[in-house]
Amino acid sequence: MLSSTKRSDDPTAHPSPTLPQLPLLLPFLLLLALAGVLAVQPLSANTELWRTFTTVFVSILLEAMPFLLLGIILSSLVHVFIAPDFFRKIAVKWPRPLLIVFAALGGILLPLCECGMIPVVRKFMQKGLPPAAAVTYMCAAPILNPIVYASTATAFPSAPWMAVGRMAVAFFVVLTIGWIVSLIVRRSHSFLLLQIDSYRETSTHSGNQPFIPLPIKLRHATEHMGKEWMETTVYLTFGACITALFQTSFPRNLIVDAPWMNPALEHVGLITLAYLLSLCSTSDAFIAASFTSMLAPASLLSFLVFGPMMDLKTTLMMMTVFRKRFILLLALVLLIIVPLFAALFISVVL
């Protein structure tokens, strides 16, 4: 029992398994959102409102569950069957810019949507994928894939350049993100990730021991799926809860049809909307299409590009991988470059 002696040496190294612990910031956030709902809605909060809220809440979870399960199964299989250095070995052979471009196009190979993304990205990084490439893939895959292209083209039948624009803008945005992240990583790794050490897998792992029989590997993978499912679901549930609160209390025309809108504010407004509504990247184009009579194409592009890269639901799930300050930085950078590229694209097309 080598491991048990090691454990008694350092109790923090292998703490006893407990429930996943939520950062206490989150319950606070929920209370804030609740207060917001009660402020917007008349105080005679009827049960109809809450029943609708529950329906939307569970609906979002049900919709996310298949993709989340897909994500954790994939991640657990990668965890057990792929050597710890797999991605690192590949990564050193490739020049960094090429790696980022490849990660940006990764969605074509492995089109994961936002919900299943986080466990997989986390696992890829544990297996040595450079953070710059991982973040690029995380932002890119929910948009830059054939399914999203097709649904956007369907939603905007008379403006095929909208789907092209979505892809193009997203591509350049994620390249920029990848470049920025690689700059950050060069200076300090710890800015980005939670506890870097836990991402270096120890050699006790199956990847380095080729003689572990398959049943044990599978058992280990299954064990992992359970753990990861629970840990990710906590955050997903939280995100879905707050999203549902906004969904059932926030009047869209506060942003979409507001009289105080000007072209610059329109971008910010629509990005906020995309963030709060947390729509799936396959269906948000249809919502955007319903705004066309009221809004400029450039700000709709912002809506379509920003939403899948970052929204309320995924922000919470990102907190299982990245530090809060990095998430904040990512949001700020996206807030600046997405409207910029969207406006640029529209002006070029015009």
């Binding site: 008379s158 403006a159 840990e231 194409p297």
Partner: protein, 351 residues
């Protein structure tokens, strides 16, 4: 060695809790399916995915139970530090508080579903999302803008105004529809101008001008036009409303029958309401309401969220600075609420 045992007990508890949740989800999904509540949550085309995830949850849950009670001697899983996420191990109160909030969060969907059972989105949600009375706007996307330069091959005739040539110019031979039209007292002068463009005859099919994007709607319009009463069907709810809206000048004067729930808001003029449905892509988060603005010419009173089937003559009116369809309802009946309250885009449409 007792520490080791404690560890194993804690791990077993964790696995059992995880198993409970996984099994809970699979039972919840089975329950939802059995009670036929699935339409309230997800679109039919996504249902198989959700049902599949129930199966996966079930299998995973059973495995967790198995692993909790049958420890594997050969591999010590706790030896691998593969906690999926970093857990900042707080001590004492903070730790139990955050673990507790995690547990509550995980149980939240079950608790809330029990306390507030699901219901279809209603006019409350429709007010938040905003009903689209003129869905064809999404087909006229900036046609004067980028499209014309990008797709130079397309002609400049927008599908939005197929009026001038396509309509028979004489409205003198006033049909029933036109007479009824003139009876309406509309606040704005715009309507009377529109009335002049009404098709005079209902036998002759007007031309439905279309470009390559609106051709499928023009085809549908031709099919619909010859019908005595155009029924907005469940299967093509959105498509039919869009077609009617796109060619509303041609369709003005035709009889339309539309089922849906009643929606009213403050912006509407007195006596007006909308008959609407939510159209769903994947789940209720992306459901958006579509409908036809109506004016009630029957004696029957309507109240919000009531399910009705209205029949009447289509006219054009002004609503919030837009030209929209206005259905003058002369026959209205209550219908039972639809089992599936939502409508879905017809994915075979136009193919």
């Amino acid at each position: 060695m007792s520490e080791d045992r404690n560890l194993r007990t804690a791990e077993r508890k964790m696995k059992l809790f995880c198993a409970c949740l996984l099994l809970g989800w699979s039972f919840l999904i089975v329950y939802i399916t059995k009670q036929q509540l699935m339409p309230l949550y997800v679109a039919p085309r996504m249902e198989w995915l959700v049902k599949g995830s129930a199966l996966v949850c079930y299998i995973l849950g059973i495995f967790q139970v198995y692993m909790a009670f049958v420890p594997d001697k050969r591999s010590d899983p706790s030896a691998c530090n593969c906690t999926a996420i970093e857990i900042k191990h707080k001590r004492g109160f903070a730790s139990s508080l955050s673990s507790c909030s995690a547990a509550i969060t995980l149980l939240l969907p079950f608790i809330l579903t029990y306390v507030w059972p699901p219901m279809p989105l209603s006019s409350q949600a429709a007010a938040l999302k905003g009903i689209q009375y003129a869905p064809s706007a999404s087909l006229k996307q900036w046609t004067t803008g980028p499209t014309s330069s990008l797709l130079a091959s397309k002609d400049n005739t927008t599908p939005s105004n197929p009026t001038a040539e396509s309509l028979p110019p004489d409205s003198s031979s006033s049909s029933n529809a036109a007479t009824e039209q003139s009876d309406t007292i509309e606040p704005s002068g715009v309507v009377s101008k529109e009335q002049e463009q009404l098709p005079a005859t209902s036998t002759k099919v007007p031309t439905f001008e279309a470009d390559e994007f609106t051709q499928i709607y023009a085809d549908l319009a031709k099919q619909l036009y010859n019908k005595e009463v155009i029924v907005v069907t469940e299967e093509q709810y959105m498509e039919i409303i869009l077609t009617l809206d796109l060619f509303k000048e041609q369709f003005a004067g035709k009889r339309i029958r539309i089922p849906g729930f009643v929606y009213q808001d403050k912006e509407m003029e007195k006596g007006r309401f909308a008959i609407a449905r939510f159209s769903m892509q994947c789940c209720t988060a992306d459901a958006s309401p579509f409908g036809i603005l109506s004016i009630n010419h029957t004696k029957q009173n309507v109240k919000a969220d009531e399910w009705v089937e209205g029949e009447g003559v289509l006219t054009i009116a002004k609503h919030e600075n837009n030209q929209v369809m206005l259905l003058k309802i002369d026959s209205l009946r209550s219908i039972p609420a639809k089992e599936d309250p939502y409508v879905y885009p017809d994915f075979n449409f136009g193919s």
